[in-house]
């Protein structure tokens, strides 16, 4: 009787261990493969009659935005930060706003970066620019400070423009502001009547 018990005491753990090994061998490997991110790049393009207002370092009309978001078709969203090395847009001061000179020469050929970031591949539906606000003045020739009449206007801009993010590729989105329409000239002021739109989506 005692021998039988001893046999059981030794055999049962071995059997259990053997079963576990067999079970372990039978498990298939999980698929851990994940796609590489794509990159979205948002740039500003300014349309303006250069016979009236030129792209010059002496001319300035700022546009300040708080945050830029990309919305995926499944409802997920991601912030588009300043560049690929930035982790977040919020600065140590707590401010997350960025200002751009729409009369920067780079805005003439759509090369003024509003933001650039890695995004998961997928179908995206819209770009959301939070709290877009014009500057208080248009500076012309470095000395003419032309007040903006409704400079307190602050808009949340939704651009419903489908675009794709492809693994390892750039998606270049160009946001255009038409200053010929947006800045209505008064006697000694500009009335700001903003006209923004996404003019192109290009894939590299």
């Amino acid at each position: 009787m005692k021998n039988r018990w001893n046999i059981l005491r030794n055999v049962v753990p071995c059997l259990l261990l053997g079963i576990m090994v067999l079970l372990g061998l039978s498990c298939s490997q999980y698929n851990y493969s994940s796609p590489l991110p794509g990159i979205v790049s948002i740039r500003l393009h300014t349309i303006v009659d250069t016979t009236q207002i030129s792209f010059s370092p002496l001319n300035n009309f700022t546009l300040t935005v708080s945050q830029i978001w990309a919305f995926r078709s499944d409802g997920a969203r991601a912030e588009v930060v300043a560049d690929l090395t930035a982790l977040t847009q919020t600065q140590s001061s707590g401010s997350s706003s960025r200002s751009f000179n729409t009369l920067d020469a780079r805005a003439q050929d759509s090369s003024l970066y509003l933001g650039e970031t890695f995004l998961p591949p997928g179908d995206y539906t819209e770009i959301f620019i939070q709290k877009a606000q014009p500057g208080h003045y248009v500076v012309l020739d470095g000395y003419r400070n032309i007040p903006i009449v409704n400079d307190t206007i602050q808009q949340d801009l939704f651009f419903r423009k489908p675009f794709k993010i492809r693994e390892g590729h750039y998606t270049n989105i160009v946001l255009t502001i038409n200053l010929d329409s947006s800045l209505v000239r008064l006697a000694d002021q500009f009335y700001f009547n903003p006209l923004y739109y996404i003019s192109s989506v290009q894939y590299e």
Binding site: L140, G142, Y143, R144, R185, L186, A187, D188, Q189
Partner: protein, 641 residues
């Protein structure tokens, strides 16, 4: 278990099964009838009593209830008659949904309002469901905003709108159980019976609650004109960024009315009498009259009519009333009355230079009266006029301009052209190049002159020039000491306002005289040696051959500098002698010290080129034309044309 106990359990089981099965609801009972709702008017006199109100406006409140359901709406109407011999008529029913706590769509967005509908009683929506459905019983913002401007919504198939949106202040309902009404009161005494009844959830209507009363006839408001143009106004067909129209202000008087609105028309007798274009009623107490409002846009004399309407809908058709005159102690003076009219005459001019087919023509105005004993440094008026005429000849303006030399009568009144004259020209060359610097004015109190030799731009002249600009005029100004405080100067109206001619017309601000008024190093009194041209203008230098060197040294004084205002552009930067380094132009460095002495404003409507130095005293180095300042004037003409 005994047999008897088993039997008992069997019997109980059979009973439990069969008794409920044998039960049924069939019977011969009668369903209760719906009890109609009832309505009670609050705080009204006993029935069969008629009261006389003090005015046609009356606020009434009521309540309603339904013993076997709930009230979904109230509807009301009232009776009226046109006159004592007219039969009694009744207004159509108005229906209020019994929906509480709707805020924000009324005249005041913070006030509550009620929802009205034109749905017939059987189709009234059971609004209690919506009361529960809407968050906190309120309408969403977008729906509220739509209601606020008078739009309607569809609720459960019913056409619904706000009781008193912005466009329709009466009747006022802040709840479905109250209202402020204005009752028709054409006759001297106007009997009314107001009745209101509730509608329950089965569309049953109860007996109406009634109240009878009489309202007095409403007196018309009175209308009075406050401000109107006392001088000829230049008008265009449409407003521009610098032209709104001839402004006329007015107000109404009606102690019985909480609100007044107005409509106006110009020259109502000249329009077809069956189609007088009165403006829409508005609460604005001012009007801007443009040429479009005139039956004859090119006519000169016009009459403006305005009439007020009170909240009872009564319009001031009389247009005149008598007002007691009071003395200094506010005591009525017996027998003395003023006649107050709601119409006023005013004068307009449609500038000919804005009419189709106009042939461009310029006007040269010489503000300088000059010196009796003329010398080259102290020229006479003819010398200055000849100088400019020579330049106009060089530019090719012969036969295309007129000359106006200012004169001053013994009483000191100057003869500046009126608006009727200015409007004949699409370009004005205004020059005031002579001052007697170095000698005090003969009469220091006589500020009508700049140093004896130049007529000042008085407020009257400034307003004429401003009006001319506002309707699209073009000006070239060359003047010595124009910004002097008693000349066009800086006005207390503020930079950029019409009263401040230097910024509004010339587009110069922050003007600094020589010696400067700012707390900087005092420059020598001999300062202006010339100016560096920009935007295509040639450099200029002071013509030392015209200097009174004994008093002036070798340069000009009282040449004011500043910086451009608004869209004004820099044309010239000041060049001073070496002792005035802080007036020097330092290329590439924006100095905080204003050093600009000439500007150009090419605006949406008007255009001005302003030279803060007198062209008479400058030369353009290298220019072969004589006078060489022609090149400066030529460029100005080029900019404006």
């Amino acid at each position: 278990m005994s047999k008897s106990l088993l039997f008992s359990w069997v019997v109980i089981g059979i009973a439990v099964i069969f008794i409920p099965l044998s039960w049924n609801c069939k019977g011969s009972g009668v369903q209760y009838k719906n009890t109609p709702p009832f309505t009670v008017l609050a705080n009204v006199p006993p029935p069969d009593t008629v009261i006389l109100t003090s005015n046609p406006r009356l606020s009434l409140s009521w309540i309603g209830n339904d013993p076997d359901g709930y009230v979904i709406a109230f509807r009301y109407r009232w009776s009226y008659r046109l006159n004592s011999s007219s039969p009694t008529l009744e207004k159509p029913w108005s229906t209020l949904l019994n929906l509480l706590n709707v805020i924000g769509a009324g005249v005041n967005k913070n006030l509550k309002f009620a929802l009205m509908t034109d749905a017939p009683v059987p189709n009234l929506p059971e609004v209690y469901r919506y009361f529960a459905y809407l968050p906190n019983g309120l309408l969403s913002d977008s729906a509220t905003n739509a209601l606020r401007v008078g739009d309607s919504l569809i609720i459960a198939g019913a056409h619904v709108w706000a009781s008193n949106p912005i466009t329709n202040p009466f009747p006022v309902h802040t709840a479905p159980t109250s209202g402020t009404f204005i009752f028709d009161s054409q006759d001297s005494l106007n009997p009314h019976t107001f009745e209101v009844e509730a509608v329950d959830n089965l569309a049953a209507v109860g007996l109406p609650a009634k109240v009878s009363f009489e309202t007095p006839r409403v007196t018309a408001p009175q209308t009075e004109i406050d401000e109107f143009p006392t001088d000829t106004v230049m008008v265009l067909n449409d407003p521009t960024v610098t032209f709104q129209g001839a402004r006329i202000t007015f107000h109404g008087i009606d102690p019985n009315s909480r609100t007044l609105d107005y409509q106006w028309v110009v020259d109502k007798d000249q329009w077809p009498q069956n189609n007088i274009p009165w403006s829409a009623f508005s609460s604005q107490t001012y009007a801007y009259v443009t040429a479009k409002d005139l039956p004859d846009p090119l006519g000169h004399k016009h009459t403006f009519y305005v009439r007020a309407r009170n909240e009872f809908g009564v319009i001031d058709t009389l247009g005149v009333f008598i007002r007691q005159v009071f003395d200094a102690n506010n005591t009525p003076i017996p027998g003395q009355f003023d006649t107050i009219r709601a119409n006023i005459d005013f004068y307009t001019l449609y500038p000919p230079f804005q009419l189709p087919g106009y042939v461009p023509r310029a006007l040269l105005i010489n503000l300088s009266v000059g010196f009796p004993d003329a010398t080259i440094p102290r020229p006479s008026q003819p010398m200055l006029t000849d100088y400019y005429m020579q330049m106009m000849h060089n530019i090719g303006m012969d036969g295309k301009y007129d000359v106006f030399n200012l004169t001053v009568d013994p009483a000191g009144n100057e003869s500046f052209p009126g608006r009727g004259t200015l409007g004949q020209y699409n370009l004005i060359v205004l020059t005031g190049d002579a001052i007697d610097y170095g000698a005090r004015p003969a009469d220091a109190k006589n500020y009508n002159y700049v140093r004896k030799a130049q007529v000042c731009i008085t407020d009257v002249i400034k307003q004429k020039l401003t009006d001319y600009c506002n309707v699209g005029g073009k000006m070239i100004i060359s003047a010595w000491a124009l910004p002097w405080r008693n000349n066009m100067g800086v006005d207390t109206a503020g930079v950029g306002s019409e009263g401040d001619g230097m910024s509004y017309i010339c587009h110069m601000q922050d003007l600094v005289a020589d010696p400067p008024t700012i707390n900087l190093i005092q420059p020598a009194r001999t300062a202006f040696l010339g100016a560096t041209g920009q935007n295509g203008y040639p450099d200029v230098v002071f013509d030392s051959t015209k200097a009174d060197t004994a008093l002036w040294g070798k340069s000009l004084q009282m040449v004011y500098t500043g910086r451009p205002y608004g869209f004004g552009e820099i044309l010239y930067r000041y060049v001073s002698d070496s002792t005035n380094f802080h007036f020097q132009f330092n290329p590439g460095d924006f100095s905080p010290v204003p050093i600009v002495c000439a500007t150009r404003y090419l605006g949406v409507t008007y255009k001005v080129v302003y030279f803060g130095f007198p062209l008479y005293y400058i030369q353009v180095p290298g220019a072969t034309t004589q006078p060489s300042a022609t090149e400066v004037l030529r460029k100005a003409f080029s900019d404006l044309n």
